[in-house]
Amino acid sequence: MSEQATPLWEVFIRARNGMSHRHAGSVHAADAEMALQAARDVYTRRGEGLSIWVVPSAAIIANDPDEKGEMFEPTASKIYRHPTFYELPDEVANM
């Protein structure tokens, strides 16, 4: 017997207004509405959230971890992007 796999959904929860949604985990569900209900039951049983997003896991595009060197290297060499790169006179140092 070959049963069709139930689609996977990633779950994002906003703990309270003002915060952004954060990844909480995933659920399996046949459609979006069931995914929302499953996410509520799995991830917010103790008032962990006020808002839930579910996104088909297949829709998430991630960078290749093996290529993270090339991906993020350019940022490491640009130390002048940080405020601490600049030594200002003591009187204005907290600028």
Binding site: N17, M19, R81, F85
Partner: protein, 327 residues
């Protein structure tokens, strides 16, 4: 910053449900954040779309006066710094456009409003950057004024705007410090370089003060924005904070500020200052500033010159999708 709130007043003709309005205001009064899917009055939405998109446009147009100096930066170090700073401003525009889009307007609409001249952006970016010290003065004064404006916006009642502002504020310190650092370096230079610094400050001081918008007695948006906790301080309050913070920094730098009325009020501890030339301000907002036409021309050209790139990218994506579905 860059939220001089200068378009026509957002008075809504539609009638809102009184109960909903009261519940909404109660949430605001409790310091609850409003999120995109929450109910909100149409005027609140409209005010935010206008303010956030004006802010976004300002970040984007703001790249132009600094971009003017990239190819003529005096060293590789200063050039790399300037490029990084301009890149941040482009990023700020994108954070803000995406916050505005949560309110139900499209990116295309917003860009179109800018390019058609329907939307405003901050008056400050209609001034030219005439000498290399202007790059430093922009970082110190323009980003400095922006920081004063943006810090209270981190507590704005609309969640996506407040989160965008938190992200932006984290990056602004570098902007102001690199500008001040550049000016300090020039002040250690020749008499001519010192004069360049003074010249830049003389030209940019008043336009920087105008960034906070009209004086409170002439500001048409403040009351609603304060009630909705989009704004936390009035234009004049923010302007005063900026002057108080900046006068001592000018002293350390060793330059004067071009305001004969500037004096410390010993009792209040505040620096009293003269009035900006509001005619010049309104004239610039209306499109008649020194660089308005050039800025719009440059933005339109950049947008039109980029059209083939957007088209090619879409065509490529469509081709890849067709290949995939055929396979």
């Amino acid at each position: 910053m860059y939220t001089q709130a200068l378009n026509n007043p957002a008075v809504e003709a539609g009638v809102e449900d009184e109960e909903k309005l009261a519940a909404f205001q109660a949430r605001i009064d409790r310091e609850e954040k409003i999120e995109p899917n929450d109910w909100m009055p149409a005027a609140y939405r409209k005010t935010l779309v206008r303010q956030i998109s004006q802010h976004a446009h300002s970040e984007v147009v703001g790249m132009l006066p600094e971009g003017n100096w990239v190819t003529r930066a005096p060293s590789l170090k200063r050039k790399a710094i300037l490029l990084a700073k301009i890149q941040d401003e482009g990023g700020h525009g994108l954070y803000l456009y995406s916050a505005a889009e949560t309110l139900g307007v499209s990116r295309e609409e917003l860009v179109d409003q800018l390019l058609s001249g329907k939307a405003k952006y901050s008056s400050i970016f209609n001034y030219p950057t005439l000498n290399w010290a202007d790059v430093g003065a922009v970082g110190w004064l323009v980003d400095g004024a922006a920081i004063m404006n943006q810090i209270p916006l981190c507590r704005c009642s609309f969640g996506p705007y407040s989160r965008a502002m938190i992200r932006i504020c984290k990056e602004e310190s570098f902007h102001q410090r690199q500008g001040y650092d550049l000016l300090v370096a020039m002040m250690k230079g020749t008499a001519e370089q010192q004069e360049m610094v003074q010249d830049a400050v003389n030209r940019l001081w008043w336009p920087a003060l105008m960034m906070f918008g009209p004086s409170d007695k002439d500001s048409k948006h403040s009351a609603d924005s304060m009630k909705w906790k989009i704004k936390r301080f009035t234009n004049d309050e923010l302007r005063q904070k900026f002057v108080d913070a900046t006068v001592p920094q000018a002293k350390v730098l060793g330059i004067s500020l071009p305001d004969p009325d500037l004096k410390l009020n010993e009792e209040t501890g505040h620096w009293e200052h003269g009035e900006p030339d509001w005619d010049e301000f309104y004239n610039t907002i209306k499109g008649n500033g020194i660089c308005n036409k050039q800025r719009m021309k440059d933005r339109i050209k950049a947008h039109e010159d980029g059209a083939w790139v957007r088209e090619a990218a879409q065509a490529y994506a469509a081709k890849q999708a067709a290949k995939k579905s055929a396979a």
